[in-house]
Symmetry: C2
Subunit: 145 residues, 2 copies
């Protein structure tokens, strides 16, 4: 399975968020080429600004595995994680994070700069299907105006 | 009511965590001199490394108020928030964060350095009852060894 395949699944989650009036970000957690958890942004529905796609997918993965670390896991997320989600991913000890579009406004890099926010063993891959991921966000905010 | 009074309440939450075998961090959210939410670290119990005192207290406050922002709120927490909790506090737009002990290992400042991770309007006060807050952590890790 390719990064593109799993990012398509994260995009499906993002589209769910879009159709529910949520900022369209979606995530999946993969272990051994299998999706074990999914999440999409639910900030409005839950009235909780911490209910990001990544947090929901991670919590679901911890529950599924009965484990609080994901050293074999890969998180795919359509947009660069924010500072909170970067911090949650640090705690998860996840092996790899794959994101689509960068987020200049709310991405963690705006605050962390050159400092590495993740676990030392975590790898990052970015830019997978980034045009599709960015377009969904762009369309959402265009609709909102 | 003083910062010390509310930090004592956060310390009570931290002691709950201690007695449950959790790293002893506790938090309360205050609006108009009233505690509207409490939280203590529940990472082990919930098998979820995102179940920090601050996140639990914030989510409880959002639920209590039916609002996703806390511009009138003050969060008291016994130990410096980690990167994840700093990011969650950013999203909450909380007016003030008061913490006790610094955390050189896992505090957000290790990663954010001189960059401000919180909402531009958020104020920070630190060092309130810091010896008590730090001693609880020190004793916990001494017991563990």
């Amino acid at each position: 399975m390719t990064h593109e395949f799993f990012m398509q699944q994260a995009l499906k989650e993002a589209q769910k968020a879009y159709s529910e009036g949520e900022i369209p970000v979606g995530a999946v957690v993969v272990i051994n080429d299998r999706i074990i958890a999914r999440g999409h942004n639910q900030v409005e529905r839950l009235n909780d600004p911490t209910a990001h796609a990544e947090i929901i997918a991670l919590t679901s993965a911890f529950n599924f595995l009965g484990a609080k670390y994901l050293p074999e896991g890969i998180l795919y997320v359509s947009v660069e994680p924010c500072l909170m989600c970067a911090g949650a991913l640090y705690w998860s000890k996840i092996s790899k994070i794959v994101w689509g579009a960068d987020d200049e406004k709310n991405g963690h890099k705006r605050v962390t700069g050159e400092n590495w926010p993740f676990h030392p063993k975590t790898e990052v891959v970015k830019g997978i299907l980034k045009e599709d991921c960015a377009l969904l966000m762009k369309n959402f905010f265009k609709d909102k105006r």
